[in-house]
C-alpha cells in the first residue's frame, strides 16, 4: 500500500510537470483494494484491469522499475514503452493488462478463467472494474457467461462513486453493485474497500470458492479516489465534505493504526514508508535516464511474431 501511495503521488507530480505523457489516472485513496485483492492471489492468477490500474499491477507483483519506465515510455518499460499508463501489462505475472476501453477487461478475464478451467490449471482470473463500468453490456454478458460455465473469475468492482465527472448513483436505480449480482445467480457482497484486512478476507474466501469450482464471485469494494478522474481534473462535481470524509478514512492510516495496535513501532512504520519512497525515487531516476525504444523496432510484433 505504501508503495502504491508513493508511486501514485510521484506519478501525479511527474505528470503535472510534464515528464509523463498521455493520460494518467491515479488510484490514490484506493490502495487497500489493490493490496488486499492482489495480495490474496497466487502468482499465476490472472489479472485484467482498467485505466486506473497502477495499484493493481504493482500489487500483483509487477516490477516497479519496469512500471515507472513504462509510464515514461522507455525501452525498459514493462511494454517497451508501447503501452503507457493505460496499457501496462506483465503476462509473466498473469497481468493481462490495464485497458483503456471501459468494460473490456471483464470478457478478457472470463477467457483467462476459461483457459484455466479447460486446462485444469486452478488459476483464478480477477477482473477489476469501476462501478461506472457496471452499466456497460460487458458486465452483464461476462458475468452471465462465467456463471453458466462456472468459471473461476472474481469480479472485483471498485466503487468509488464517480465515473469521470458523474456521480454514479445517478446513473442507475440500483447503486449497489453487489445487489445486481443476483440477476446472474452469483453471490455479491459489499466490503469496505479502505480496510485492507476486510478486502483480503473477502477476496480470500471468494477466490477459494472460485478455485473450488463454484463459478464466479462478485465483490464490491467501496472506496474513493482522492484525485480527479484524470490528473488535471479540477473536480467541481464533488462535494467537499464527501471528499474530506473519505480522506479521513485513509486506507494507509487505518492499516497503520491497526499495526500500531498490534505492536508496530512508529519507527517501523516510518521505515516502511521511507523504503517505499526510496524505491520510487530510484525507479524514477532509472526511468528518466533509461533509453528510448529503438525506432527501428517499431514494426516488430504487429502480427504477434
Amino acid at each position: 500500500m505504501c508503495l502504491i501511495r508513493a508511486f501514485e503521488l510521484e506519478v501525479a507530480k511527474l505528470y503535472r510537470d510534464g515528464e509523463i505523457p498521455g493520460f494518467v489516472h491515479t488510484s490514490l485513496g484506493q490502495e487497500a483494494v489493490a493490496a488486499g485483492v492482489c495480495g490474496s492471489l497466487r502468482e499465476d492468477d490472472y489479472l485484467a484491469t482498467t485505466h486506473r490500474g497502477h495499484g493493481h499491477v504493482l500489487a500483483k507483483g509487477a516490477d516497479l522499475d519496469g512500471m515507472m519506465a513504462e509510464l515514461f515510455g522507455k525501452a525498459s518499460g514493462l511494454c517497451g514503452g508501447r503501452g503507457g499508463s493505460m496499457h501496462i501489462a506483465d503476462p509473466g505475472r498473469g497481468i493481462l493488462g490495464a485497458n483503456a476501453i471501459v468494460g473490456a477487461g471483464m470478457p478478457l478475464a472470463t477467457g483467462a478463467g476459461l483457459a484455466s478451467k479447460l486446462m485444469g490449471q486452478g488459476r483464478v482470473a480477477v477482473a477489476f472494474f469501476g462501478e461506472g463500468a457496471v452499466n456497460q453490456g460487458t458486465f452483464h454478458e461476462a458475468l452471465n457467461l462465467c456463471a453458466i460455465w462456472d468459471l473461476p473469475v472474481l469480479f472485483a468492482c471498485e466503487n468509488n462513486f464517480y465515473a469521470e465527472f458523474s456521480d454514479s448513483r445517478t446513473l442507475t436505480r440500483v447503486p449497489s453493485v453487489a445487489e445486481r449480482a443476483a440477476a446472474y445467480g452469483v453471490v455479491g457482497e459489499t466490503v469496505h474497500g479502505n480496510d485492507v484486512e476486510a478486502v483480503a478476507a473477502a477476496t480470500g474466501a471468494a477466490v477459494e470458492r472460485c478455485r473450488s469450482g463454484e463459478g464466479p464471485a462478485l465483490i464490491e469494494f467501496e472506496t474513493y479516489r482522492w484525485h480527479g478522474h484524470y490528473e488535471g481534473d479540477a473536480q467541481p462535481y464533488r462535494p467537499d465534505e464527501e471528499a474530506s470524509s473519505w480522506r479521513e478514512r485513509d486506507p494507509l492510516e487505518i492499516t497503520a493504526m491497526r499495526l500500531a495496535e498490534d505492536g508496530a513501532t512508529t519507527e517501523e512504520l516510518e521505515e516502511v514508508r521511507a523504503d517505499a519512497a526510496t524505491r520510487v525515487t530510484v525507479a524514477v531516476e532509472a526511468a528518466r535516464t533509461a533509453a528510448e525504444p529503438d525506432p527501428k523496432e517499431v514494426f516488430a510484433h504487429v502480427y504477434g511474431d
Binding site: K74, R82, H87, G137, Y237, E292
Partner: protein, 327 residues
C-alpha cells in the same frame, strides 16, 4: 451565423460548440447526448456552456453504455428528434458499431424512405499525444465503406461550425469526426462557407495536388510553405460524400496527386481516392498517385515512436518533390 461572429477568430473547439448551440437554439428537436457532456461539459470541454444554457432535458448525460445510448439516439431520430450523440473516442465504435452501421445507416433504405434517421454521431480522433493504441485511431475509412452514412472531418473552426449545422440538418446519419489536436487552434470565422460534400481548395498551386483532411490539413499547409514545389492543398472536409469533382479538376491541372492522412494507409480512405483518380485521369497523370498515411502498426505510447509513425510536413514536402521528379 451572425455577422459579429463572422468577424471573430474562434478556436476549433469553440466553433463546434457554437454549431451545436445554434442547432439547439433553432430546432427544439435537437438534443445532445453522451457521457459527461452535460454538467461536466465534456471530457475535452467541447460542450462547454450548453448544459447551463439549454438545461438537462436538451443536454443529456448518459451512463457508460454506448450500445444503449447511441442506439437510443438512433431510435430518438426515428421518433422525430435530431440527436447529436457523442462517441467519446472514435476507437469506441468498437463497443457501439451496430446502431451506427446496421441500424442508422440501413433503416432509411430498408424502409424505402419511410423512416428518416437524422442523427449526428460526434466523435473525435487525433494521434500525436501518447493516447495509446486504443485511443488514437482514425477510422473514417471503416465508416465511409458503409452505404447510408455520411462522414465529415472538419479541419478549421469555420468548417467545424458549418459542418455541424449541415450535419444536423441532413436527412442522413452523419458521422462528425473532430480532431482533438485541433481543438485549441484558432481560425477566422470569415472563411468562405461551403456546403457538406464540397472540398475546399485551401492553397492554390501548380505542381502537385495534395488531398488531405483533419489534422493533416495543417501539416500539408506547412509542407506547402516549405516551398520547393508548388502544392495545391485540398481539404476534403467530408469523406462521404467524396468531392471528386474538386479533386479531379485540380489534378487535371497539376498532373500529380499526393494523398496525406492521419489514418493507417493500408485500406484507408486514401486508397479510394487514388483508385478513382488512377482510373479517371489515367492519361493525364504525370506520375503515379502517392499516398502518405500511418504505417500498419497500432499506435505506440512512446512520443518518439508515435512521431516516427506520423508523416510530418517535411515528409509530405519530400514526397511532393519526388513526385515532381518522377514526371
Amino acid at each position: 451565423m451572425s455577422t459579429a461572429t463572422e468577424q471573430q477568430e474562434l478556436r476549433y473547439i469553440e466553433a463546434i460548440g457554437l454549431g451545436m448551440a445554434e442547432a439547439l437554439e433553432t430546432d427544439y428537436r435537437v438534443v445532445v447526448m453522451g457521457i459527461d457532456v452535460g454538467a461536466g461539459e465534456g471530457i475535452f470541454r467541447v460542450t462547454r456552456g450548453l448544459h447551463e444554457r439549454f438545461g438537462p432535458d436538451r443536454i443529456l448525460d448518459t451512463p457508460i453504455s454506448e450500445m444503449a445510448f447511441v442506439g437510443a439516439a438512433v431510435g430518438a431520430a426515428m421518433g422525430g428528434m435530431r440527436p447529436i450523440v457523442e462517441i467519446m473516442f472514435m476507437d469506441f465504435i468498437g463497443v457501439c458499431l451496430d446502431p451506427i452501421i446496421n441500424q442508422a445507416a440501413k433503416l432509411p433504405y430498408m424502409t424505402n424512405g419511410a423512416l428518416e434517421v437524422p442523427i449526428v454521431f460526434r466523435t473525435q480522433t487525433g494521434a500525436g499525444k501518447s493516447a495509446g493504441a486504443q485511443h488514437s485511431q482514425s477510422l473514417e475509412a471503416m465508416l465511409a465503406h458503409v452505404p447510408g452514412l455520411k462522414v465529415v472531418m472538419p479541419a478549421t473552426p469555420r468548417d467545424a461550425c458549418d459542418l455541424m449545422l449541415a450535419a444536423v440538418a441532413d436527412p442522413a446519419p452523419v458521422v462528425f469526426v473532430e480532431n482533438r489536436r485541433l481543438y485549441a487552434r484558432r481560425g477566422p470565422m470569415s472563411e468562405e462557407s461551403l456546403p457538406l460534400g464540397r472540398a475546399r481548395v485551401v492553397v492554390k498551386g501548380e505542381d502537385v495536388t495534395v488531398v488531405t483532411w483533419g489534422q493533416y490539413v495543417g501539416r500539408c499547409l506547412e509542407a506547402a510553405e516549405i516551398g520547393e514545389a508548388s502544392l495545391e492543398v485540398i481539404d476534403l472536409r467530408s469523406i462521404v460524400p467524396l468531392d471528386m469533382e474538386t479533386v479531379i479538376a485540380s489534378v487535371e491541372r497539376t498532373g500529380r496527386l499526393l494523398i496525406a492522412h492521419e489514418a493507417v494507409q493500408d485500406f484507408g480512405a486514401g486508397a479510394e481516392i487514388a483508385a478513382r483518380v488512377g482510373r479517371e485521369l489515367f492519361d493525364l497523370l504525370r506520375a503515379p498517385v502517392r499516398r502518405l498515411g500511418a504505417p500498419t502498426v497500432p499506435m505506440p505510447f512512446n512520443p518518439m515512436l508515435e512521431r516516427t509513425l506520423m508523416p510530418d510536413a517535411a515528409a509530405i514536402a519530400a514526397n511532393a518533390r519526388s513526385l515532381v521528379a518522377e514526371g
